[in-house]
Amino acid sequence: MTTFPTADQLRSIDERHQVFCERLEDPLALDQGTFHFSAKDNLCSRGFQARAGSRILKGYRPPFDATPIRKLRESGGLLLGKTNMDEFGFGTFSTNSGFGVPRNPFDPERSCGGSSGGAAAAASLIPQHVALGVSTGGSISCPAAFCGVIGLTPTYGRVSRWGLIDYGNSLDKVGLLTRTARDLERYLPVISGPDPKDPTSLTQPVLDMRGEVETVAVPDEALVGLSPEVAASFREALKELERNGVKVREVKMPSLRYAIPAYYILATSEASTNLARYCGMRFGAMNQEFDQGFNDFFAQTRSEDFGPEAKRRILLGTFSRMVGFRNRYYMKALQVRQLIIREYRRVFDSCDAVLTPTMPFVAPRFDEIARMRPLEMYQADFLTVPPNLAGMPHLSLPCGYSHGMPVGMQAVTPQWTEGSLVGLARFWEEEFHYRFPEVMV
């Protein structure tokens, strides 16, 4: 059954649009040290629904602010709204949301990337805007690359996850999507720092915003399976770096190819436990028969309100945790994760950063996405997943344009060296001319 919006609903959408535009156009506000920001829909905030792109959380209004939102608000930020995303972060194209699909600002027939698709679109469209995104396996890098903006994913533990609706807790990180290095420099320190409400944030060293990238390592493994236009843009960017005195080294990182299977096992194992709470007791529509056993009731709610990708990942994660499979999958994936961390450390002995393209192709069209099989979609993350498994900070920067669509490159540096990444962004901005989409009002 299709429902059409009522006149009241249309009026309220229009009012929201008006307020949004007024706030954006108020130069006075921005002059007084205030700024506007948006937050991915899986970050909780008072006064807004937090649905994490899932129908099962429709109408849920959290009674508290996520720490990064609280910190931005306290430093003068105005939360404009929540940005659309793949359900619970499950996706690479933001096509798995329960609430519509965000469109790429460079081409509305193409994806914004995922899962922080809405965040990247906002950063791309609105000047001087800072968008809070979240990455588990590349959900900041990917949309940043597809929408032609800068996406910074800090070290795991740098930014408190209090108030972040969990996907895979040991991988989730809150980060920033912006147009300029200056905004990274300004807002990263604001959202960083220990928070007693998130034990994993407590042991971080002080954020040092100084740092440079003088030598980059380019793993062979990263250069296979790229579309020709991405390969060409990336090669051009490497030349540009070398012209500016950056040393480029070819390295081998063979364990990177195990990252995808290890990631999907760990992330879904954790996700399947995180999503267990959505069962119709306190979240999810309660329009089922109450006169049944609780297991049947829970199953019915979950069948109706989770999207297909969420169900796929719950099943995968539950399977990996079961007795008999646990050692073969979950425990093995933990070992692979250690292997990858060691491999990065080895490379960092002689280089400041590992540099690769961000995504193997430019933002695909929705009809192309519809033809992709789940495994193909998962494979698209093969360059963004490794630094996420290792908990290393990484940055995606626009490095070229192919038929008008941005191409991204991704730099990974050792833990807690976000400063080097910001330094790289600042330097690159001077050498490379970014383009932003024109918006017709």
Binding site: L57, P63, P199, S272, A276
Partner: protein
């Protein structure tokens, strides 16, 4: 017959295991926050005090303490479990391979770990129109779980185990010791197959439940029937165990590490911990040190810790036997009054007991004085009444010239008169004092 127990005891912390909520909720759902409600985006932060209490218990139970521990998610769906997983410890318990001695027998302890309690469901309304209400005040209450080896051989022994355990834990970490603070799963096998009775509250019910299960299993075996491996529930009102509702299968909780909590190094913590002396350990020491019966020692210690302190002070001065009879006699009978003012009275009590022991005061005089201390009135000092004593002695000696005569040849003749004086004075003066005065008086007449 083999019995093994899985015991959950509430740790007496002021706040919950993974959040700052109070453990003393007054009305339903009055002590809850995003974390213990499992709201999306909330996460746990460990209550250090609960961890320390758990480690102390593991150490007290002679366990091998893990150097590092972490937490696990145990996933199952239940309406009172807010996150539909419970944070517990799976592959890294605080301690393993310990033991606890009950009635001279050592019972193996397989493991000790801490975990959070789920909420509580209350069913209300008439049958057929029942509704289930959920109270999350208990959600996140810290529990310690102690798993024993199947080393107990009777329901009574299981009850003794629990009784002694709670006595020790009360002193060790201050558990309240009420029956409700303990929830037990009891495993019992009379023949080959094992049956688990789930979720019994209180020690008395554990014994009752086990007894009824022994009966049932014995009867079945006698009738040549096979016992099925199953989970049963104890119906407190009818006093029998009933088959559990859930189907019988090996539950798979899909344990994974709890990623929000890190690894905790408890090795050094455990090494630096001193275990305070617990009541039963103290009773064992007292009975050994002062050669008294186990029951007597246990009784002193369990009556009141301070009474046992008093005993030890007295025993050091007058020996175990005398200290015991004073402690269990006059002191414990007026203990209610003495206890509150012990700081002021302790010296006086010691003086009295020592005086009696050295013969300077009679036993009944001592008792009288202690009862006077307890009622707040000082007994009259012996010195003031010396006139009375002398008067009686003089009178008696006057009345019995034949004793004076005999005394010249045999000093023991005085004993008759001493006895008379003691009788007349109703034990107010010690025989030593009376004897001295008597001797003095008789010497005068010689």
């Amino acid at each position: 017959m083999k019995i093994g127990l899985e015991i959950h005891v509430q740790l007496p912390t002021r706040s919950k295991l993974f959040c700052g909520c109070s453990t003393a909720g007054e009305t339903p759902n009055s002590s809850v926050c995003p974390t213990c409600l499992g709201l999306p985006g909330s996460r746990p932060f460990l209550n250090r005090q609960a961890l320390e209490m758990g480690v102390l218990i593991a150490k007290f139970l002679n366990c091998k303490i893990a150097d590092r521990v972490w937490f696990a998610r145990k996933t199952y769906f239940y309406p009172d479990l807010p996150k539909n997983f419970q944070i517990t410890q799976y592959d890294s318990p605080l301690g393993t391979d310990g033991h606890f001695t009950v009635g001279g027998r050592s019972i193996g302890i397989w493991r000790v770990h801490i975990e959070e309690d789920p909420g509580r469901i209350r069913r209300v309304g008439r049958s057929g129109e029942e509704v289930a209400l959920v109270d999350y005040d208990r959600s996140g209450i810290p529990l310690v779980e102690i798993v024993t080896a199947p080393d107990m051989s009777s329901p009574a022994e299981a009850r003794d185990f629990l009784t002694d355990l709670i006595i020790e834990l009360r002193r060790l970490i201050g558990v309240t010791g009420e029956e409700q603070t303990m929830r037990v799963d009891a495993n019992i096998s009379v023949g080959e197959e094992r049956v688990e009775i789930k979720n019994i509250t209180g020690m008395r019910n554990v014994e009752k439940g086990l007894k009824s299960e022994v009966n049932r299993q014995t009867k079945m075996l006698a009738a040549g029937k096979r016992i099925v491996r199953e989970t049963r529930h104890f119906d407190e009102e009818r006093g029998v165990t009933m088959p559990g509702r859930e189907k019988e299968f090996e539950e798979d909780y899909g344990y994974i590490g709890e990623p929000d909590l890190g690894t905790y190094r408890i090795g050094p913590l455990a090494a630096s911990m001193a275990i305070p002396e617990t009541p039963l350990v103290r009773a064992a020491r007292l009975s050994k040190e002062w050669r008294m019966g186990d029951q007597a020692a246990r009784q002193i210690v369990l009556t009141d810790w301070a009474l046992a302190d008093m005993f030890e002070i007295l025993a050091a001065k007058v020996g175990g036997e005398a200290a015991m009879s004073w402690t269990m006699g006059p002191l414990s009978s007026s203990w209610k009054d003495l206890r509150g003012r012990l700081l002021d009275l302790k010296g006086g009590i010691v003086d009295i007991v020592v005086s009696v022991a050295s013969g300077e005061m009679t036993d009944s005089e001592g008792r009288m004085r202690i009862s006077a201390l307890s009622s707040g009135k000082e007994a009259e000092a012996p010195g003031e009444n010396e006139g009375d004593l002398d008067a009686i002695i003089v009178q008696l000696v006057d009345e019995h010239p034949e004793v004076v005569k005999d005394y010249q040849g045999n000093e023991r003749a005085a004993n008759f008169l001493i006895g008379q004086v003691m009788k007349a004075m109703r034990g107010k003066y010690s025989s030593k004092v009376v004897a001295e005065r008597m001797k003095k008086e008789l010497e005068k007449r010689v």
